[in-house]
């Protein structure tokens, strides 16, 4: 995404960004990952930069025929933290994303994905869970573009956000651009708050409010990181997510 000019509010994928923060680090480097036909890669991204910094991670992924990429993203650091992934799927490729955004204070966090299904039979599956406290903003922007001849594309997005304070903001923006006629594109988005009945039930069994909230939020983030194959890596990300959750309360 080597744009020359600093993005503005009118740029669709920067609409909810902290543009002042973006300008302070512009231009950003894009890491290009070209996955050869029939092979697979897995990436775990833990964005836990210090609170007063700006962290933008920008990826361009090309999945050749039958290739697979699995991304797990924990986006929780920085005054502005952005993880953007632009994926091009060739025939029969598969892209998998498990993402969590955990923010509080004045943080602005975003996960932005663009899935370009340019050939037939490619699939993608994205699951993003967001929990926000304080005056934080968390945005998921997910575009799926299916080219005219990319038949049998199967793309799904599941996006859920939990607001822990009245001043937090969650944005969920699925965007489908489909030119083929034999495709499946599913998306679901919800924004909610912690279940008061469940909180009282936990309290009635002796669990203090802060711990009860951590338990419920842990369950909400839940299976996002289950797909990380390496147990040590998974434990590291889950521990970082747990620490981030405790910071929210």
């Amino acid at each position: 995404m080597n744009l020359l000019a600093v993005p503005t509010r009118r740029d669709e994928t920067w609409h909810y960004s902290n543009l002042e923060a973006v300008a302070s680090v512009w231009p950003v480097q894009t890491e290009v990952i070209d996955v050869p036909a029939g092979t697979s890669i897995a990436r775990v991204i833990v964005q836990d930069a210090a609170t007063d910094t700006v962290a933008i991670r920008d990826y361009r992924v090309i999945l050749r025929e039958g290739a697979t990429a699995t991304f797990h993203v924990l986006n929780t650091g920085g005054s502005f933290g952005r993880v953007a992934i632009d994926v091009t799927c060739h025939s029969g490729a598969h892209f998998e994303l498990g993402g969590a955004m955990l923010g509080t204070g004045e943080q602005t966090l975003e996960i932005v994905t663009t899935l370009n299904h340019i050939e037939p039979n490619a699939t993608s599956n994205q699951v993003v869970r967001t929990a926000l406290g304080g005056r934080a903003t968390g945005s998921y922007l997910g575009k799926v573009a299916v080219a005219r001849h990319a038949q049998k594309t199967d793309a799904s997005q599941s996006v859920k956000a939990m607001l822990l304070s009245r001043t937090a903001t969650a944005n969920a923006k699925p965007e489908l651009e489909i030119y083929a006629d034999d495709v499946k594109c599913a998306h679901g988005a919800t924004v909610g708050e912690l279940d008061a009945n469940a909180l009282f039930y936990l309290a009635s069994r002796g669990i203090a409010p802060a711990q009860a909230k951590v338990m419920l939020l842990g369950a909400f983030i839940g299976s996002v990181f289950d797909g990380i194959d390496d147990p040590a890596e998974r434990a590291r990300v889950e521990a970082a997510a747990q620490a981030a959750l405790e910071r929210l309360l």
Binding site: F200, S204, G206, A219, G222
Partner: protein
């Protein structure tokens, strides 16, 4: 054990409890019966400290402490257990994790050492066995996909694990078939029928009382206890209905 004096409580500005007084001592089982809308569940929630239930006057003393000043989790640590009429489903949190956190939080509140995973599992398995609950259900998310009867049995497993001083059981008998009713009744007796413990059974029907014999029966109507007596009062209610007794 528990002394409720002239308790008034409201929800959304509507007064439900209107001067309720009740004293229960260690070693006793009390049944509170009454028609729909009398305030039975409200009494349970007020004693448990549910948000939204506002006490406007009166006092509740639990083991010499002012119960109304304690947070819900502090009440639990002090030995109060509220059995829910509708136990809450918590997706993503396993029964084992929930129960272990609960027990260790209570132990921490009492300055006791937490149980290790192995110690806890042994305790949980013994309680599940005693209530004929499948061990697999300990691993499943809390109450998710449980039948009505399984949820109530799970409440009793929880009660057995936290081992409270005072159990307030809100319609624990509703939704149970005859076998489950017997198992739950036996569970209540096994866990709570002790000289240092007290049970308050909130119920519509006499049938649970044939398994858990109460020492005292109270009739709650329009937010107050209007009659108290021995076990024979439950039989009278069953025979004549609330209308006959309340009139």
């Amino acid at each position: 054990m528990l002394k409720i004096t002239d308790l008034h409580a409201e929800i959304d500005g509507k007064e439900i409890l209107k001067g309720l007084s009740l004293q229960v001592n260690a070693g006793e089982v009390h049944a509170i019966m009454g028609p729909n809308g009398a305030g039975k569940s409200t009494l349970g929630y007020v004693l448990g400290g549910r948000p939204g239930y506002e006490v406007t006057s009166g006092s509740v003393e639990f083991d010499g402490q002012n119960l109304l000043e304690m947070e819900p989790h502090e009440r639990a640590a002090a030995g109060l257990f509220l059995g829910f009429q509708y136990p809450v489903e918590i997706p993503g949190v396993s029964n084992v994790q929930f129960l272990r956190e609960a027990l260790n939080a209570q132990r921490k509140g009492r300055d006791e050492k937490p149980l290790s995973g192995a110690e806890f599992l042994k305790l949980a398995r013994a309680q599940a066995d005693a209530l004929s609950m499948d061990q697999d259900m300990l691993k499943r998310p809390v109450n998710v996909g449980f039948s009505g009867g399984e949820k109530k049995r799970n409440e009793m497993v929880q009660m057995g694990i936290v081992d409270p001083k005072l159990a307030i059981l809100d319609e624990t008998d509703s939704g149970l078939d005859i076998d489950a009713l017997r198992i739950v009744g036996e569970g209540i007796n096994r866990i709570m029928r002790k000289s240092d413990k007290t049970v308050i059974l909130i119920t519509h029907y006499e049938r649970l009382l044939s398994y858990v014999a109460p020492d005292f029966v109270h009739v709650l109507s329009a937010g107050r206890i209007i009659r108290s007596g021995g076990p024979e009062l439950a039989a009278e209610l069953e025979r004549e209905g609330y209308a006959g007794v309340v009139a």
